[in-house]
């Protein structure tokens, strides 16, 4: 399943409530049927660490870091890419 983030949260991804909705209604159900998830950030100009945390931290905590084999992050700009990298890294540390 490919999830186009900009259409759901706008160009600045900061609304944690929406991030949680995406996780609960789209990401987890897709992983539960053993399918791959593509999070497409095309058009997203910026994101907060809080948004990315609300989007994927529970997924990593729930399934372990190996779940990253089933999740791809597409069309991320440099800053979004760095924030995703940071969240993934600290979730594996914590």
């Amino acid at each position: 399943m490919e999830i186009k983030i900009v259409g759901m949260v706008g160009t600045f991804a900061e609304n944690k409530d929406l991030a949680r909705d995406i996780r609960i209604t789209k990401i987890i159900p897709t992983l539960e049927i053993d399918e791959e998830v593509i999070l497409n950030f095309k058009g997203v100009e910026g994101a907060t660490q809080s948004f990315i945390h609300a989007l994927i931290s529970d997924v990593i905590r729930r399934y372990g870091a190996k779940v990253l084999d089933k999740i791809s992050f597409k069309e991320c700009n440099e800053n979004v890419r760095k924030i995703i990298g940071m969240v993934v890294e600290y979730m594996q540390e914590s």
Binding site: N15, G46, T48, H53, N79, Y90, E93, S94
Partner: protein, 320 residues
């Protein structure tokens, strides 16, 4: 309550303004001001609104202002938000590129709209906007999620041409950082609570390192880091305590982000009038915001280092 608006109250010299506030009679608010000139940080205006919103307009008395700059208070929306009549008349100017008037944000939808609106109002380039949007989002969400404020967050911003700086205030009249942090961490003082709130990986929602599925405990650390890398001020006032990150004299390459805010260049005190809630003021220099990407690298290194150290401290072998 009595508030005196001085000739100057910005983050560098705000200490005396804070200490002079008088909260002895919470049933009324009396505002007086310097007769010649009033030049104040947006956080000061946000604090006045946060106090005034708890009162009926008839219990707020603002003396007849004489300062030449008195129109500034009206233009920022102080009297409008408090439903006060004023005889100050101003010529309305195009607001774009200058300021964000005092705004009350009570829910997530209003925050999203506010963030969308402020960037064109402040005439920011996309790269400059990153830091501003980031700071506003994280600070206001903190208020909405943790402060238990019935009246939401009061926000205001002003662009200063001379220093090419955006000065932001985000204030609430909620329960304060000490109570919020205390839900998960034992703290004795408001200053200790502020210290913990600024430490990466610590949130009032859990004792778990790395936070919950919804809170990582990184928001305030990010804000402090943005101010620090920009070599600007950050002020947090809650309860009887105030912490102020002072301007760094070092360049970006020499900047070290510390997990413990008390290791940064700062001033602090816990002898301030009791503020029921939290007031945050931050300055962001637009000339340096293009370094946001570099800032993210620095934050990542500091955040991971702090989390790892805390984990090592928490989990040690038990020898019996």
């Amino acid at each position: 309550m009595k508030i005196y608006l001085p000739n100057s109250a910005f983050l560098g010299n705000i200490d005396s303004f804070l200490k002079n506030m008088d909260f002895s009679d919470p049933t009324q608010l009396k505002i007086t001001a310097n007769k010649k000139w009033i030049s104040i940080h947006p956080v000061v205006l946000c604090m006045i609104v946060a106090l005034g919103l708890n009162l009926k307009p008839e219990n707020i008395k603002c003396e007849k202002l004489e300062a030449k700059s008195k129109h500034y208070l009206q233009r920022m929306g102080l009297f409008k938000l408090l439903n006060l009549k004023t005889d100050t008349t101003i010529i309305e100017h195009e607001s774009a590129g200058r300021f964000i008037p005092l705004t009350r944000i009570t829910n997530s939808r209003e925050l999203t709209t506010f963030i969308t609106d402020i960037i064109p109002l402040l005439h920011l380039d996309p790269e400059q906007a990153d830091s501003i949007k980031y700071v506003v989002s994280e600070l206001v969400r903190n208020v909405l999620e943790h402060s238990e404020s019935e009246r939401g967050a009061i926000v205001s911003a002003q662009y200063y041409h001379k220093s090419n700086t955006i000065r932001l205030g985000i204030v609430d009249g909620g329960v304060g950082i000490k109570k919020t942090i205390s839900y998960a961490h034992p703290v004795k003082t408001s200053l200790e609570a502020i210290q913990l709130a600024l430490t990466p990986g610590i949130t009032g929602t859990t004792q778990m390192i790395g936070g919950t599925e919804y809170n990582a405990g990184a928001g305030l650390f990010f804000i402090k880091s943005i101010a620090q890398v920009n070599r600007e001020f950050l002020m947090i006032y809650s309860g009887n305590a105030m912490y102020k990150l002072l301007k760094s004299k070092l360049g970006l390459k020499q900047t070290t982000l510390h997990g413990d805010p008390f290791q940064d260049r700062h001033s602090k005190g816990e002898d301030y009038p009791l503020w029921k809630g939290t007031a945050v003021g931050v300055d962001i220099s637009l000339g340096k915001t293009k370094e946001f990407s570099v800032l993210l690298d620095l934050i990542r290194d500091a955040y991971i280092k702090t989390i790892t150290e805390r984990k090592k401290e928490k989990y040690r072998p038990r020898f019996i």
